[in-house]
């Protein structure tokens, strides 16, 4: 051991000076090779010469100022060799000594050492990164100990352990713990690796249809027409224009011309002059390209038949009136108003010949004629089947009349009811005068006479038969509509302000609503709350008549501008449907009480019956199908049908006309 350490020190000393670039650390791994490479003799020689310095690995500068440079093994000073060499000597030595390059200075001993050839060779080898030992072959062929070939003799012949056959308890325990941890959710199983490639698809969001659409919408530039025979320099003679054609061509507007040039014939191509219209033609071509449509118009190809809603056939909507069955003749002037008794046995008609006639519906027999002192404007049979009363309006008067038709018991009960009225103690001043008919008027059935301040145009009963509303049209008066209560002989004026000329009024069949039709609007008032509930925009110029569906949620309005507006009060304040079936102004409209029918009478002399089904289901809109045009009335003085009314129980419609007849259609 001491020997080895010494040799390393020598090496350090020898190499440290002479071979500057080689660092000691780089040399260290090669140290033992160095040792091996050095022959034992030379080593011993070195050792014998060597005076061991025991100062260790310290910077030798520390001994610079001393005469010695260390201590030997015995502790005696090692003195520095006497150095007389100065710089000049050094230079001379360098110049003259051929071994100067192989001489190294040993700092430890302060002596110069000349490297042998072997040592120089070794240094060169080390510098080149080769092995120090010349004889060492670093690329000796390797012998595979574990080869792929199965040998006849195994590497080890030891039999397998017993424990290799027994499942390991520790492993089991560990696996059990892992399984438990997985079960408890403490360990999450490894997430499967996302195999999807990660890149951003720029067009992923684009809709396929738009792409297709873009392709579809592509419009190629318009192509130029290929030249034909006409453009030829030598066209066939039939393409050449005659003199007249040339004249005509010149007189035509440039845009009307079939061709924009005159076909011309030349004897040879050489004779063809320069094309004078070149700039024009190019300009037109540019215009064509510039003005060609860039967007394809999506023309909707719809069969107009498909746009018509699928309506059921009229013959599936039976029963409805189809033919004229009876004509009630007797009036000598136009019949303004008709009304059917609630039992359906009698019909009352009021005419301009100042008579009211009562007819038997089934035979057209006039059973009774009551003469009044003015043209009868309106008649209305009380809808209460327990009384027998007819309200008749003429001039400024309304007469409540007991016709004495129907059940005798009811007639006498009605008379009793009217005569049993007792005047209340404090009588209020009323705008309408109630008087009891006496004398011959009483004989004719008149019971109560109501004198109004103005001419009465319409009377209508409330469904219960006690209230009676009448219309006195006046453009700017608050007293246009009054409501009478027959049992108390009281008159109310429900409206304080005039909202335009009132055309007609109607009571709601079930609820306490009141419909007032002015020229353009129908206002629906709540009589209990005394407020305006709705205002229906009729969208026509002048409402003439109005009828309320027995269900109460639908209203029809006839107007003088040939229209019939159907309002669905649940739907909107605008008409659900406008029917323009009539050629002339509508005069009367009516709903049937039970059947889904409504009718309108017009100045064109026809009655149009429509099927108007109102469903209980609020989601389903009413079904309106015109089913029949009934003609029969002759037009006199430009007036046709003036009023229509339905029979209360049969699908029959009555119409009264300007020709003085009432007609029944069944």
């Amino acid at each position: 051991k001491p020997l080895l350490s010494i040799s390393i020190e020598i090496m350090d000393v020898e190499l440290g000076y002479s071979l500057q670039p080689v660092s000691l650390i780089a040399l260290l791994p090669h140290a033992h090779f160095l040792l091996h490479s050095l022959s034992p003799s030379s080593c011993l020689a070195m050792c014998s010469q060597d005076i061991r310095n025991t100062v260790g690995n310290i910077p030798m500068e520390w001994y610079k100022d001393y005469p010695h440079i260390g201590y030997d093994l015995d502790g005696k000073k090692i003195f520095k060799p006497i150095r007389t060499k100065d710089e000049l000597d050094e230079f001379l030595d360098k110049m003259e000594n051929p071994d100067y390059w192989r001489t190294v200075h040993n700092k430890m001993t302060g002596t110069d050492l000349r490297l042998s050839d072997e040592q120089v060779d070794l240094v060169h080898r080390l510098q080149q990164g080769k092995f120090g030992d010349v004889n060492f072959n670093e690329y000796e062929p390797a012998i595979d100990f574990f080869s792929s070939e199965v040998m006849i003799h195994p590497v080890t012949n030891r039999p397998e352990d017993k424990r290799s056959f027994i499942p390991s308890l520790i492993e089991k325990e560990k696996v059990g713990k892992l399984v438990h941890a997985i079960k408890m959710g403490w360990i999450k199983p490894r997430r499967p690796k996302e195999t999807a490639p990660k890149y951003y698809d720029l067009w992923a969001q684009e809709d396929l249809n738009t792409v297709l659409g873009r392709h579809k919408m592509h419009i190629p530039a318009p192509k130029m027409r290929l030249p034909g025979h006409e453009e030829s320099y030598n066209p066939p003679p039939e393409y050449l224009l005659t003199e007249e054609e040339k004249l005509a061509w010149e007189q035509q507007d440039p845009e009307d011309r079939r061709v924009s040039f005159l076909p011309q014939k030349y004897s040879c191509l050489r004779a063809v002059p320069a094309f004078s219209r070149f700039i024009h033609e190019r300009f037109e071509r540019c215009l064509d390209l510039y003005l060609c449509p860039r967007q394809r118009k999506m023309r909707v190809n719809v069969n107009p038949e498909d746009l018509i809603p699928k309506l059921p056939k009229p013959k599936d909507l039976q029963p409805f009136p189809t033919t004229q069955s009876l004509v009630y003749r007797g009036h000598t002037s136009l019949v303004r108003s008709i009304s059917v008794s609630p039992s359906g046995q009698w019909l009352v008609s009021g005419s301009d010949d100042c008579t009211v006639r009562f007819w038997e519906v089934s035979t057209a027999r006039c059973l009774k004629t009551v003469e009044v002192s003015g043209a009868v404007k309106s008649v209305a049979w009380s809808p209460n089947p327990a009384v027998c009363l007819v309200a008749i309006s003429y001039g400024e008067t309304i007469v409540l009349l007991n016709p004495g038709l129907g059940d005798k018991f009811i007639c006498s009960a009605t008379d009793q009811l009217i005569s049993s009225y007792e005047e209340p103690e404090e009588s209020k001043e009323q705008s309408v005068q109630w008087t009891i008919a006496e004398g011959s008027d009483h004989e004719h059935g008149q019971r109560l006479i109501l004198k109004h301040p103005k001419a009465v145009r319409q009377v209508t009963w409330h469904g219960k038969g006690d209230y009676l509303a009448c219309v006195m049209p006046d453009d700017n008066s608050s007293l246009q509509v009054v409501i009478h209560q027959v049992s108390k002989r009281r008159t109310q004026n429900p409206f304080r302000k005039s909202k335009g000329m009132v055309q007609c009024v109607s009571f709601h069949p079930i609820r306490p609503y009141f419909f007032v039709a002015t020229q353009r609007y129908v206002r629906v008032y709540n009589l209990i709350k005394q407020e305006l509930t709705k205002k229906l925009m009729a969208n026509c110029k002048w409402i003439s008549s109005m009828a309320v569906h027995p269900g109460g949620d639908n209203v029809i309005c006839g107007s003088y501008d040939c229209r019939l507006a159907w309002f669905d009060l649940d739907l909107s304040t605008k008409p659900y449907k406008m029917l323009r079936h009539h050629k002339k102004a509508l005069r009367g409209v009516a709903y049937h009480k039970h059947y889904p029918l409504f009718a309108s009478g017009s100045d064109d002399g026809s009655v149009i019956v429509c099927h108007g089904m109102v469903y209980n289901d609020l989601l389903q809109n009413p079904l309106i199908v015109p089913v029949k045009v009934l003609k029969g009335h002759t037009i006199t003085h430009d007036l046709g049908v003036l009023d229509v009314a339905f029979h209360p129980s049969q699908p029959w419609v009555f119409s009264s006309g300007a020709d003085g007849t009432v007609r029944l259609f069944t």
Binding site: Q318, P319, T323, S325, L326, S343, G344, Q345, S362, T363, A364, R365, L367, G406, D407, K408, F409, S412, A413, S649, Q650, T666
Partner: protein, 422 residues
């Protein structure tokens, strides 16, 4: 196809010919066929006089050429056609035109007298020659229906129903020519539109606008039924009263609308037609409704023939419909006779011929039908100038019709007598 094989037969022995098929032109019409038969008969019988015949192919009258008839009826022309021939019905001969003061609402005739009800609130008895015999005035309103109850000897019982909600039972002595109102039948709350006397002549039934059918006794008595009408002042009632008050034996209710016509199909069964589009059959004993026939229109009139057991109805359209009242399914229209152009207001079966009936309509025409030819009537009796309201056919072969032109026409129809075999 120009020739057809046909075999002629008849039930009238007088005109029987040999039962052999003949080949006849397909285009031949009734007149041609009639000539053929007459020729054959002349060959058989020496003193044969020319007779007009009518021909039936499978129960349908021949009205066009034979070929087109068989084409429309889908009869094969390959086989021998069986053609029945009957002596042609002669047209009804108009006899009398009886003028009234007002519309005639109803007519009923027997072998001697004609009873009519009129809108002038009276009922009248006429002789067959058109002489006014008696006027019964007592109703305060239009007389809607009349009926003979019984005629034994010189005294007769008759009924009038009116719009004033009463039915009056009159006794008429034809010798003294005196009439007396025996009973005033009160109880209806609407106009009494129809009355009919039962086959035993002891009861009658009335149908009214108040939707009720009421059955009354038709036997005159000297007692007055108690009327419970507290509201009516007693005094007033007495003054109005004409005859003794009578109350109904039974009330049948079930109709939803006015009853327009009623009749007895037999002694136990009543049939009523109504504006509620139904014909109902009632059991008189129990007062229960037995069955119901449902139509689609208002019924104006019905008539029943015991010979063919069919019900004929006239409604507010232009058809006369035939019904089988015994069918259980209720609404079987066997046949509808279509030629009228207005409401059919009167139908009456022939009392002696099971195929024939008469109908009157608002189109002013009375039509005589044979149900074997439902497309066209046998004869149109177009004498009326206004709506026909009533019609009748007596056992003695008299057809009567009254209408809104105030005229009552009578026709003698004797064809059925010569057609004895039918």
């Amino acid at each position: 196809m120009s020739q057809l094989q046909a075999r002629f037969f008849t039930e009238n022995k007088k005109y029987a010919i040999d039962d052999v098929p003949f080949s006849i032109p397909a285009a031949s019409e009734v007149a041609d066929l009639s000539n053929v038969i007459n020729k054959l008969l002349e060959a058989r019988i020496a003193d044969h006089k020319h007779v007009e015949f009518d021909f039936l192919v499978r129960g349908q009258f021949l009205r066009s050429s034979l070929a087109s008839h068989m084409d429309t009826e889908n009869i094969s022309t390959e086989e021998v056609v069986e053609i029945e021939y009957v002596q042609k019905f002669t047209a009804p001969q108009p006899e009398e035109c009886i003028m009234h003061d007002d519309w005639i609402s109803s007519v009923e005739a027997d072998s001697e007298w004609i009873l009519t009800g009129s809108y002038d609130k009276t009922a009248r008895i006429w002789s067959l020659e058109g002489k006014a015999v008696m006027t019964m005035a007592g109703h305060t309103d239009v007389v809607k229906d009349v009926a003979w109850v019984k005629r034994d000897g010189l005294s007769s019982l008759l009924l009038t129903a009116s719009l004033d909600q009463t039915v009056l039972l009159w006794e008429w002595n034809s010798e003294q020519n005196k009439v007396k109102a025996r009973h005033c039948c009160r109880g209806h709350a609407g106009s009494v539109d129809t009355i009919v006397v039962d086959p035993s002549r002891t009861k009658f039934c009335s149908g009214s606008w108040d939707k009720m059918l009421k059955i009354w006794s038709a036997v005159p008595t000297e007692e007055e039924d108690e009327v419970e009408e507290p509201n009516r002042p007693r005094k007033k009632q007495k003054t109005e009263q004409l005859g003794l008050t009578r109350t109904p034996l039974m009330t049948l209710s079930g109709h939803n609308e006015a009853v327009s016509a009623v009749l007895w199909t037999d002694a136990e069964e009543l049939c009523s037609a109504s504006w509620d589009h139904t014909i109902r059959l009632w059991d008189v004993e129990t007062g229960e409704q037995k069955s119901m026939l449902t139509g689609s229109k208002v019924f104006n009139c019905i008539s029943y023939s015991p010979l063919c057991r069919r019900l004929a109805s006239g409604s507010t359209d232009r058809h006369v419909r035939l019904w089988d009242p015994r069918s259980k399914d209720g609404s079987l229209v066997l046949l509808s006779l279509t030629s009228h152009t207005g409401w059919v207001t009167a139908v009456r079966w022939s009392p002696s011929n099971q195929h024939q009936l008469v109908s009157g309509s608002f189109d002013n025409i009375v039509k005589l039908w044979d149900i074997r030819s439902c497309k066209a009537p046998l004869y149109d009796l177009a004498a009326h100038e206004d709506r026909v309201l009533c019609a009748d056919w007596t056992d003695s072969g008299l057809i009567l019709s009254g209408g809104a032109d105030n005229k009552l026409y009578t026709y003698r129809y004797s064809a059925y007598v010569s057609d004895a075999g039918a």
